[in-house]
């Protein structure tokens, strides 16, 4: 069993899911290592708080592990995991009574996405400002932009993520981009 997972990076997600379903902890660990960053960025995009996003991702992986047997492979594991995380993030915000399209002032400072001065010098103030402005957009728009730009998702995958049609995913992305450009001018 140990040998079968040596070089797990080469094993496909479908194989890892199958192995994890049969109780192989190392397969699940490989899935966590591979997809936790995408899941975190989705959680952060929705919650806009690093501490909440980290809790959300942990809970999402716990739930995903329990439900892994029901994963049918209709979408990629990554898209499925990102969707589970998005749902968990929304549920968490609802529980916390923060389920609204609040402004950035209400949401408070961004911990993880706000770089320190040294990082700012490297990334450039404009980049940081663009990220801060992205955070002021409605949830579906910022999630569509983040999923498209950070994760390289297709509009079909984004539709699954934000719970809409493919057309609506496209509209959310382009409206968000247009609004962001206005804010940056």
């Amino acid at each position: 069993m140990r040998d079968s997972l040596r070089g797990a990076r080469e094993i496909s997600d479908a194989e890892l899911v199958e192995q994890a379903c049969s109780g192989d902890d190392r397969a699940f660990s490989a899935l966590v290592r591979k997809h936790h960053a995408s899941a975190y960025r989705v959680a952060l995009s929705i919650t806009r708080r690093d501490d909440i996003a980290q809790d959300v991702v942990q809970d999402a992986f716990i739930k995903a592990f329990r439900a892994l047997g029901g994963f049918r492979g209709d979408s990629s594991f990554r898209t499925w995991m990102m969707t589970v995380t998005a749902n968990e993030a929304r549920a968490t915000l609802r529980k916390r009574g923060r389920w609204n399209e609040s402004s950035i002032e209400v949401a408070g400072p961004l911990e993880a996405s706000a770089p320190d001065p040294a990082e700012q010098a490297v990334a450039g103030q404009e980049s940081s400002r663009a990220r801060a402005m992205l955070d002021t957009l409605p949830e579906k728009q910022r999630l569509a932009i983040s999923a498209r730009i950070d994760e390289g998702l297709s509009f079909r995958e984004i539709a699954t993520l934000i719970g809409s049609s493919e057309g609506a995913a496209r509209v959310n992305y382009f409206h968000g981009i247009r609004r962001l450009r206005e804010l940056m001018e």
Partner: protein, 156 residues
């Protein structure tokens, strides 16, 4: 180029910014960008966003694995799992598993791909078999087989 061309190019801009565009598309898109200020401006915005991605906490993967492991401990297991774990402990006591016969248990569990040396299995001071995480990793079917094996070893 007309508006349709702009729409097609704008679809490709995230891919262009991340270097995921096929060579044959690249020439067409770059040629369009040279003459279209609007698309060029959008590409710059996308590049800006990509230059400052959210920082993923360094230990997050470890935290997730710990959280998943904790959630799978026997006291967090379903009623069936808890019953099975309790039954296994009771059975181990019932068949007289003791410190002076650890090889009996080890032989059985090795057959099921569980390595006691990893701290997944131990014998307590009272000669009780104390199973923990390894029980969680077993399917119901495997757990039933293990119970049957243990019963057979104990009787032998």
């Amino acid at each position: 180029m007309n508006e349709i061309d702009c729409a097609k190019v704008r679809d490709c801009l995230p891919g262009l910014a991340s270097g995921r565009i096929e060579n044959h598309q690249l020439v067409t898109i770059e040629s369009h960008l040279l003459s279209c200020e609007d698309c060029q401006s959008e590409l710059e915005l996308i590049q800006m966003l990509r230059a400052a991605p959210p920082v993923v906490p360094f230990l997050l993967a470890d935290q997730i694995e710990s959280a998943v492991t904790s959630s799978r401990r026997p006291w967090n297991r379903s009623w069936w799992g808890l019953s099975a774990a309790a039954a296994l402990v009771a059975l181990a006591v019932g068949v007289g598993v003791s410190r002076d016969r650890p090889e009996v248990i080890q032989d059985v569990v090795f057959d099921f791909g569980v390595d006691p040396e990893q701290g997944e299995l131990w014998l307590s001071e009272d000669s009780f078999l104390a199973g923990d995480l390894w029980i969680e990793g077993l399917s119901n079917e495997t757990l039933m087989k293990l119970l049957a094996e243990l019963e057979g070893e104990g009787a032998a």
